[in-house]
């Protein structure tokens, strides 16, 4: 971490990391920690306030809100991580090939990117869901396919600028194969940059997933997912606001928890800043 | 009657402000550039000579601060000025040229736009178009085709040419003092000669005062009237070039001079008869 960060910034980072840890733990430990089965419907107990073994109350179908939040963490975060992984794979593959190979390969790949970039992301996502159908995996595919092109362009730009640096030429003269040059000299800074961008974008993608689910295009009932939960709770906004508030709060906190470390990641990955004392 | 010195620095201190308190990088620096003289500031890389220039101009980066010292440009104290007033002073009374000319220009703007920016930021655009204002200074630095040059981008020009354009931009506002920080270091040997000769001619023609920062003794010898020797953030000695070079008071200065002299001796020995000057020149 940067020693020059002020105490406030460092405090914020600690809070964010703790939060991330808690949310991660929630997601991982849901099966053991959740007081009830999140999908267990019990209409007799619907819309109850907290109490009686239901720490946060129940929703309109009598399902335990707390358990649904916990299991929802798995779905929401798992989905987002799946999206990020797919985007990274696609953008690295396309961006590195385009940047390193150049020529008509570069041109062809970039025109493909242009096609994807032409459409507004949400519209494209909805179209893809329409084609692929609803469901968790399709949500991951759809959102990844709408976002990868932007990252691919950035990767390509970075590869182009690194390709011409003297240390790459020196590596070629030293006998390093093209593949190894990619691995040793080009990928590390590209991955670092992508990691920073991805953490900052995770919030955006979470909102995308939740948004699609809110519209009924994403995760299907009864799978708990924070966006779906907000959708379901719309009609109960005035009677049982907790049903909407808690999932919304979880989304907000998760987005924050990813954004703040993203800022610090740049410093952590930069050897110049890391060895400032040297 | 003593003219007002172009630059007068007294007891300048520059420190890096860090978590462990301020760390002084430049201490107790005092120097004077009299009117119409060239003062050379010489030292190794990292001795603080560039920082001194930035401190004088109020252009210190990030966590560096001027913690002590008085600076007077043409008799006017400027060390206490707020940033805006300092900017105006910078435009009117002192101009700067730096090392590595390519990095001082904005790659996406033509030379014309650079001229316009310089003229515009000091409200001189009213008198005539950019070409009218630029052509005379460009001619003065030896570039006669102002119309062509103004349309070029920085990357289309060589280092020597860019350096001359930078000097032209510096002269545009007719400052009496020029601070040149390693102006020839990144140029090839022949361009170095032409830039130095240009500075000498400008000094003669315009009465320009120059603070010339360099690591190369031969640049000082060629151009400077007085020399200031700096090492590790402090000034070791100063005085007229002839006097200091003939009889340096400090051991470091003596070793610096001796090292350069031995370089030259070695060069002249190696080249031997080739430097005799008796052979003619074949013109191709």
């Amino acid at each position: 971490m940067s020693c020059a960060a002020s105490p406030v910034r460092r405090g914020l980072l600690v809070v964010a990391l703790v939060l991330l840890g808690v949310i991660g733990a929630m997601a991982l430990c849901a099966p053991w920690v959740a007081p009830h089965d999140p999908n267990a419907i019990d209409l007799a107990r619907k819309l109850q306030p907290p109490g009686n073994g239901y720490p946060l109350g129940t929703d309109h179908l009598g399902r335990d809100l707390c358990s649904r939040l916990l299991y929802g963490a798995r779905v929401s975060i798992g989905t987002v991580l799946g999206i990020v992984a797919l985007i990274l794979v696609l953008s690295l593959a396309v961006g590195c090939t385009a940047g390193y190979a150049g020529g008509w390969v570069d041109a062809a790949l970039m025109r493909t990117c242009d096609v994807f970039l032409t459409f507004p992301t949400f519209i494209l996502a909805m179209f893809l869901i329409g084609v692929l159908g609803t469901g968790l995996v399709n949500v991951i595919l759809a959102i990844a396919l709408t976002h990868w092109a932007w990252y691919a362009r950035i990767v390509r730009g970075l590869v182009l600028s690194l390709k011409h640096r003297n240390f790459v030429a020196a590596a070629r003269v030293a006998g390093t194969s093209r593949f190894r040059i990619l691995q040793r000299h080009i990928l590390p800074p590209v991955l670092a940059q992508l990691a920073i961008l991805a953490t900052l974008d995770i919030g955006h993608m979470m909102l995308h997933v939740s948004g699609l689910s809110f519209l009924g295009l994403g995760v299907q009932p009864p799978t708990p997912e924070w966006g779906v939960m907000i959708n379901d709770a719309r009609q109960y906004l005035w009677t049982q606001p907790a049903l909407m508030l808690y999932p919304g709060l979880m989304i907000f906190l998760t987005v924050m928890a990813f954004n703040v470390p993203g800022d610090h990641l740049r410093d952590a990955l930069d050897p110049v800043v890391r060895t400032q004392g040297g | 009657m003593a003219a007002v010195p172009a630059l007068c620095v007294t007891d300048l201190e520059i420190a890096a402000v860090g978590p462990q308190g301020p760390l002084p990088l430049v201490r107790g620096v005092s120097l004077t550039v009299p009117a119409n003289r060239v003062v050379g500031l010489i030292g190794e890389s990292g001795c603080g000579k560039s920082l001194t220039c930035l401190g004088i101009l109020g252009l210190l980066p990030g966590n560096l601060r001027r913690t002590r010292g008085e600076i007077a440009l043409h008799g006017t104290p400027v060390h206490g000025l707020p940033p805006d007033a300092m900017r105006r002073q910078r435009g009117q009374s002192v101009a700067v040229i730096l090392q590595n000319p390519m990095s001082c220009f904005d790659a996406v703007h033509t030379i014309r736009q650079h001229f316009r920016e310089t003229l515009g930021s000091h409200d001189r655009l009213a008198n005539g178009s950019v070409v009218e204002r630029a052509a005379p200074v460009l001619r003065e630095v030896g570039l006669d085709n102002a119309g062509e040059i103004l349309n070029l981008y920085p990357f289309q020009m060589s280092g020597g040419m860019l350096q001359r354009v930078m000097i032209a931009l510096a002269l545009l506002l007719e400052p009496p003092l020029l601070i040149a920080d390693e102006p020839t270091t990144d140029l090839d040997a022949i361009s170095q000669v032409t830039v130095l000769d240009l500075l000498a001619a400008l000094r003669a023609r315009r009465g320009l005062s120059v603070l010339l920062v360099t690591h190369d003794v031969s640049v000082i010898a060629r151009l400077a009237d007085e020399v200031v020797v700096m090492r590790e953030g402090v000034i070791l000695e100063s005085g007229p070039v002839g006097a200091v070079f003939a009889a340096p008071r400090h051991a470091y200065t003596a070793s610096l001079l001796e090292a350069h002299r031995s370089l030259d001796r070695a060069y002249h020995e190696r080249l031997g008869a080739w430097l005799g000057g008796t052979a003619g020149t074949e013109v191709r």
Partner: protein, 282 residues
């Protein structure tokens, strides 16, 4: 003959709207020869084509015409596998100290790279070899764990030299390797290079613009001007009756000893004409 350059020509296309602008010739038929263990200084003004020639000799760029023979084989016609074998004996030191080493890797890793490519060494052997190389160029073995930004310009060039000699190459191309350093640091690096040559028998192709520096290393010069070799000079032989203008100007660019350094008088008109020829620039 270790290195032979025959009739190498290269031009760049200034990009027009569709990428096919007018061609700009950078090299117009260059011939060079260098024996084992010898040094050749390739000097000229910026824009004379010397760096491009250096890159072509290193195999980083292909010439449009002519050939480069290294140890008797045409460098650019070799299949990739053979070229890799040849690369072992042909190394480089670049000018820009700060971009010639990967800033994210330790200097030890950068120096070890050629060794990792060509030799199978255990981790400990590799560390020892790197330590030996760093000491050979005047640094400490413990410096291997530091990053480039922790060193001065002169030290970075020493590290680059350590990387270049790691495989005991037959030829090292030094592309303005000392041009951005202080005069005194330049002299010390030149002395290091001379010392290494005596120990290892490496040949040098030293590209530079400053005669003072080149003269420390070698007696043989090739002066480049506008993409051609204007003249090839052997300083051990007496000067020719007339010295090529390009060389004369380079000599004039070197000042005499302090405190005063007037140029020696030369036909000013011809010098002025030389300076304003071509692109009309300096």
């Amino acid at each position: 003959m270790l290195l032979e350059v025959r009739g190498v020509a290269k031009e760049y296309r200034r990009g027009g709207l569709f990428g096919r602008g007018e061609p700009v010739p950078v090299l117009r038929g260059v011939d060079l020869a260098l024996e084992e263990g010898a040094s050749l200084g390739l000097i000229g003004r910026s824009g004379s084509g010397k760096s491009t020639l250096g890159r072509i000799v290193l195999g980083l760029e292909r010439p449009d015409a002519g050939e480069v023979l290294f140890q008797g084989k045409n460098l650019h016609d070799l299949p990739e596998a053979d070229r890799r074998r040849v690369r072992r004996d042909l190394q480089v030191v670049f000018q820009d100290t700060h971009s010639a080493l990967n800033p994210r890797r330790t200097v030890g890793a950068s120096v070890a790279e050629p060794l990792q490519n060509y030799e199978r060494l255990s981790a400990r052997d590799l560390r020892n070899r790197v330590g030996d190389l760093l000491e050979l160029v005047g640094l400490a073995a413990a410096d291997a764990t530091k990053y480039p930004h922790q060193f001065s310009g002169g030290q970075l060039q020493r590290i680059a030299i350590a990387r270049a000699i790691a495989l005991h190459p037959r030829l090292i191309v030094l592309d303005e390797a000392v041009s951005s350093l202080d005069m005194l640091v330049q002299a010390r690096i030149m002395d290091l290079l001379v010392d290494l040559q005596q120990r290892l028998g490496t040949a040098y192709l030293f590209i530079a613009h400053d005669l003072r520096v080149v003269a420390r290393l070698t007696r043989r010069l090739a002066v480049m001007d506008a993409g051609r070799i204007a003249t090839a000079v052997d300083l051990d032989r007496p000067p020719q009756l007339s010295i090529a203008l390009a060389l004369r100007c380079l000599m004039e660019a070197v000042p005499g000893p302090p405190p005063h350094s007037p140029h020696s008088v030369v036909a000013e008109r011809s010098v002025a004409a030389y300076l304003t020829r071509g692109r009309g620039d300096v």
